[in-house]
């Protein structure tokens, strides 16, 4: 099963657990399944449209991905706030 890894407040919201084995064939499916398993994360990663928030990045095995990026059972998905500056 793909492994979703969370940090910071997302980790806290997801039962204070950094790693979550989640069913799904794409990044978007994994994130929606993560919300179902941990409702406290709802609205934090995906907005009410179901879109990935603008300043959240998702990496699949270290490569920048998107919601539609396919994932396999051995993949590792990191959900990270984007590197931001100037504010």
């Amino acid at each position: 099963m793909p492994l979703v890894r969370l940090r910071g407040p997302l980790k806290q919201l997801a039962g204070d657990s950094a790693e979550h084995a989640v069913e799904g064939g794409s990044v978007g499916e994994l994130l929606r399944e993560l919300e179902r398993a941990h409702p406290s994360t709802s609205g934090w990663i995906l907005d009410e449209r179901g879109a990935l928030r603008r300043h959240i990045n998702v990496f699949v095995n270290g490569e920048l991905g998107a919601q539609e990026t396919p994932v396999g059972p051995d993949d590792r998905i990191d959900v990270l706030p984007a590197l931001s500056g100037g504010r």
């Binding site: 609205g43 449209r49 928030r53 504010r87």
Partner: protein
């Protein structure tokens, strides 16, 4: 003891003190996060704060003690599956009925809570208002920033949306109509389209506590008064150095009172001449007088945002407070006659609310 909840670009600051001397910072919450607005509900004592993480989106939080644990309110989102997302919560306001709390947000959305701010729902009538597609955002977005309940009548409410004008309801938000007669938008052509088609950039609304049919408005180039609950408006800016500004405060004990902080103009949003002055009327806008004793008199080019001024008390003991994007906070314990420094070096102040 007066408590100020100061929403800043880098967190919520709780300040406590007595008029006349700098206040103590007694708590800080949401460090590093923009806190657009915070208020203590006088009915429950609960503190509510709107926080928009640049990463995780807008949330509303509540706590009994701002130095303690905060809980996230539920339902702070637009209807799922649409083509818009909630961008920001601009204001939080206790309603006229027990337990009711309103939140105003971008894009022009009103959220209602019936349990003191633990859960919210979108007001569907305003959200589905015909013609919404033509509403135009102001520079800060399509922000619903002013919510003025009618004391004693939960069915009546007025809203200010930048730049979609004034909206009124008499049926508890089941239906809405515009209330813009008399407002002149100088930033539009000489022959603007009909009033219900133009972008009206309301900056702030405040309602009299004792004469609720009276509402004052700071407009994007204009200061107005309504004596019929927001149906029609009269320009009362004559006598001010500028009719551009953002915040308003009223003396709850005097329906003829209002305080504004004029800025140069929309193209130069700072205090005129580097001189900070609050202007006061005690005759419903027929005349204005500067109140600046104790405020910076030179080289002070401050911007005071729409939510960053509030009052507590009334009459001669009226206390006034405002914060600037410079991080300075000023106060008056004598209805604006004299002023003192409350805090000097906070992060940019986005909002300020006062209670005692």
């Amino acid at each position: 003891m007066t408590e100020l909840l100061v929403g800043t670009k880098k967190g919520l600051f709780v300040l406590e003190g007595e008029p006349g001397a700098p206040f103590d910072v007694t708590a800080r919450a949401f460090a590093g996060e923009p806190v657009e607005y915070a208020m203590r509900d006088p009915r429950s004592g609960r503190v509510l704060a709107s926080v928009t993480s640049p990463f995780y989106g807008p949330k509303i939080w509540y706590a009994g003690d701002p130095a303690g644990e905060w809980e996230q309110a539920e339902g702070v989102a637009l209807p799922a599956g649409g083509d818009a997302a909630l961008e920001r919560i601009w204001v939080l306001v206790p309603g006229a009925a027990d337990g009711i709390v309103y939140a105003g947000g971008d894009p022009g959305v009103l959220l209602e809570s019936r349990d003191g701010g633990a859960t919210f729902e979108v007001n569907r009538a305003l959200w589905e208002q015909p013609g919404r597609d033509s509403w135009q955002p102001g520079a800060g977005g399509l922000c619903l920033h002013s919510i003025v309940p009618w004391p004693g009548d939960p069915d009546r409410l007025a809203l200010g949306i930048s730049a979609a004008g004034v909206w009124l309801t008499d049926d508890g938000g089941a239906s809405w109509r515009r209330g813009n007669e008399g407002i002149v938008a100088r930033y539009l052509p000489d022959d603007p389209p009909a009033a219900d088609e133009v972008a009206l950039c309301v900056h702030q609304l405040k309602r009299s506590a004792t004469h609720p049919e009276r509402i004052f408005m700071q407009f994007h180039g204009g200061v107005y008064r309504s004596d019929d609950g927001g149906e029609t408006w009269t320009d009362i800016a004559d006598g001010l150095p500028s009719d551009f500004g953002f915040p308003l405060a009223l003396d709850p004990g005097d329906p003829d009172s209002a305080y504004v902080i004029p800025l140069v103009a929309d193209v130069d949003r700072v205090t005129p001449g580097g001189h900070v002055r609050v202007y006061e009327t005690r005759d419903a806008g027929a005349s204005w007088a500067p109140r600046g004793d104790g405020l910076p008199t030179e080289h002070a080019y401050l911007t005071v945002l729409r939510g960053a001024m509030d009052q507590v008390g009334a009459g001669e003991s009226l206390e006034l407070y405002f914060g600037a994007t410079s991080g300075a906070v000023f106060g008056s314990g004598d209805a604006g006659a004299t002023w003192f420094d409350v805090a000097a070096h906070l992060p940019p102040v986005l909002s300020l609310t006062a209670s005692s």
